[in-house]
């Protein structure tokens, strides 16, 4: 359905794909954070604990950036699909109203 030039189904598909990628990233992040959260004592030396913690914190933030970008994209695409769909519905209604008016003439 692309009467107004928008492939609403395609955009919905892109939104769903972005959401799925976001879920994949969150799953990787969650597994990694759980597996690495209690690790520092195993490193033994304080300099290693501190360097590891700084590195892990930075990558946790980095993961969050990934997931937020993808979530933002998914949200925007979903909203765009909804807006385009509404516009098409309004367009169809208008067309029907015009046809109805024409028939009454």
């Amino acid at each position: 359905m692309a009467e107004l030039g928008f492939d609403v189904t395609g955009i919905r598909g892109q939104a769903a794909r972005a959401a799925a990628l976001g879920d994949d990233l969150r799953a990787v992040q969650g597994t990694w954070e759980t597996a690495t959260g209690s690790a520092p004592p195993a490193l033994g030396l304080d300099v290693l604990v501190s360097a590891f913690s700084a590195m892990r914190d930075a990558w946790s933030e980095q993961f969050t950036v990934y997931t937020e970008v993808v979530s933002k994209l998914s949200g925007h695409l979903g909203a765009a699909a909804t807006n385009y769909s509404r516009a098409e519905t309004a367009n169809t209604d208008n067309a029907e109203a015009v046809m109805h008016g024409l028939n009454r003439l």
Partner: protein, 507 residues
């Protein structure tokens, strides 16, 4: 499991050295006892748990691998213009850049996993060595003859005593090697963690206050394979942007919106370098509409791969004694695009010819030399503290020093002592990974500040290779870290292989 202070290992090494130095027939039994009490404690760390930790990184690398590619696939599809509200950024660009960033995760995590696994292997090996030493010390404690200094004089063959002392000294030296090896391995792993941390620029930038889209786009902008803005610059930029008033931010957004993505990155890099907003806005107008190759040649001196050059002319020292000045000029050109622009264009923004560029650089080198050498004779080059002052002072006309308010200082290096050279190398690598160029002083011998000294600039780092700019020819070449550590920087100056000092950013 509590962590052990790194300094405690240094204390153990000092204590063992004292025991080895003071060995004599009377102290022998006591020395063995004290060494046993030290070596009896297991080494800090748990190799088994570390291997599990390593596998968590490897698994995450494997699982995240396809996601970057999937994001690129999405970016290649026709995406509607849904990214409203952010400046001059399309959805496809953000998704593509996010894909680029996600693709950096697998190599970074594989590197981290491998580094942790290697450390676990070393720790296991050293722990085995410790147990062997402990057993040998126990055996010795049961076999060594006792001497009663207050009682009856027992005749003992002096040769036998010498043999015992030599044997025990060897065991103590073996223990010292054990703890030195542990510290070396820990130094390496800490540096590797810093390497991996430096790849997470977008996250650190968002944490510092930059909006998500800007952080993703900037962190993904590279020139000739290197990040255009290092993490230190991204963080400083985030702080500067967070401190802007809405009106200032609107002025900046307006000029960003008129420029290409790469030009936007250069504009923001100029802001991160400490230039005032008004100057940055003027600069944005000066580079508006220029192509990417033009921007890279004029603002990164990236006209020729493997060199700092412009219009076919390398950025080189103008005289035999200006390697320090040229290193400062190169560092500022790499850190501040407005300074680079001033080197490559004349009044009104007219691009210079290669010959004009060389003449202009020579004048800037001389001005820099005048600034750095207020006492030190120019005929001797530039002193390390003069180079630090030049890096800090913006003598070459840059907006400010690459390190910002923290500034550069001199770290002396003794490359015959790994405990001096290794920390200096790691600190330099961390600085370079964060985006700071780092000058180093080479000389024929240690402690030499006279004939034959030569400055070069560390400009990048990847794996165990350093990228080093040499002002003598303008080339950037790859040098193994081991050359820095072993006093073997022959690639530059066969007569000056030793690293004597590193001009290090403090921030």
């Amino acid at each position: 499991m509590a962590s052990t202070a790194y300094d405690q290992i240094s204390t153990i090494i000092n204590r063992l050295e004292q025991l080895a130095d003071l060995l004599n027939p009377v102290s022998l039994a006591e020395a063995i006892g004290q060494t046993i009490s030290i070596v009896a404690s297991p080494l800090p760390g748990d190799a088994g748990q570390l291997r599990t930790l390593a596998s968590a990184f490897i698994s995450a690398a494997r699982d995240a691998g396809p996601i970057g590619g999937d994001l690129h696939t999405m970016a290649d599809q026709k995406l509607p213009e849904v990214w409203q509200g952010d400046v001059a950024v399309t959805a496809a660009q953000v998704v593509n850049d996010a894909g680029d960033l996600v693709r950096q995760l697998p190599p970074a995590f594989t590197y981290a996993g491998s580094a942790i696994d290697n450390y676990a292997g070393t720790l296991s090996q050293l722990e085995g060595k410790r147990q062997e030493l402990l057993q040998q010390l126990y055996n010795a404690s049961h076999s060594v003859p006792n001497v009663d200094v207050f009682g009856i004089d027992i005749p003992i063959d002096p040769a036998e005593w010498s043999a015992w002392i030599a044997a025990i000294r060897n065991l103590i030296y073996g223990s010292i090697d054990l703890y030195n090896d542990l510290q070396d391995a820990a130094d390496i792993l800490a540096g590797e963690f810093a390497d991996v941390q430096s790849k997470a620029g977008a996250g650190m930038t968002v944490k510092a206050g930059m909006n998500l889209t800007d952080a993703v786009v900037l962190a993904a902008t590279t020139v000739d394979g290197s990040d255009l803005l290092g993490n230190a610059q991204l963080t400083r930029l985030a702080e500067i942007m967070a401190a802007m008033t809405p009106a200032e931010r609107a002025r900046l957004d307006a000029v960003l919106g008129q420029n290409s993505t790469l030009a936007q990155a250069y504009i923001l890099k100029a802001l991160a370098a400490g230039n005032p907003l008004s100057r940055v806005i003027t600069f944005a107008g000066q580079i508006r509409g220029q192509t990417n190759p033009w921007l890279i040649e004029h603002l990164s001196l990236g006209g020729t791969p493997g060199k700092l050059s412009y219009d076919g002319t390398a950025l080189i020292q103008s005289t035999q004694t200006e390697c320090g000045s040229a290193s400062i000029v190169a560092a500022q050109a790499m850190s501040d695009p407005i300074f680079a622009y001033s080197l490559t264009t004349g009044p009104g923004g007219t691009p210079l010819t290669g010959a004009q560029f060389a003449a202009h650089v020579a004048a800037v080198d001389q001005a820099t030399h005048d600034f750095t050498n207020t006492v030190w004779p120019q005929s001797l080059g530039t002193s390390p503290w003069g180079v630090a002052a030049g890096m800090n002072g913006g003598a070459a006309g840059g907006a400010g020093n690459p390190a910002g308010p923290a500034g550069y200082g001199v770290t002396w290096v003794d490359d015959t002592d790994p405990r001096s050279a290794y920390p200096a190398l790691q600190q330099a690598i961390s600085a370079v990974d964060a985006g700071y160029p780092v000058p180093i002083l080479l000389a024929p011998t240690l402690g030499n500040l006279g004939n034959g000294m030569h400055y070069v600039l560390i400009t990048g780092h990847s794996g165990n290779q350093l990228s080093i700019y040499d002002p003598e020819g303008g080339r950037i070449t790859q040098v193994p870290e081991s050359d820095f550590l072993n006093g073997d920087m022959q690639a530059y100056d066969q007569g000056s292989p030793h690293v004597n000092a590193v001009i290090m950013p403090s921030g």
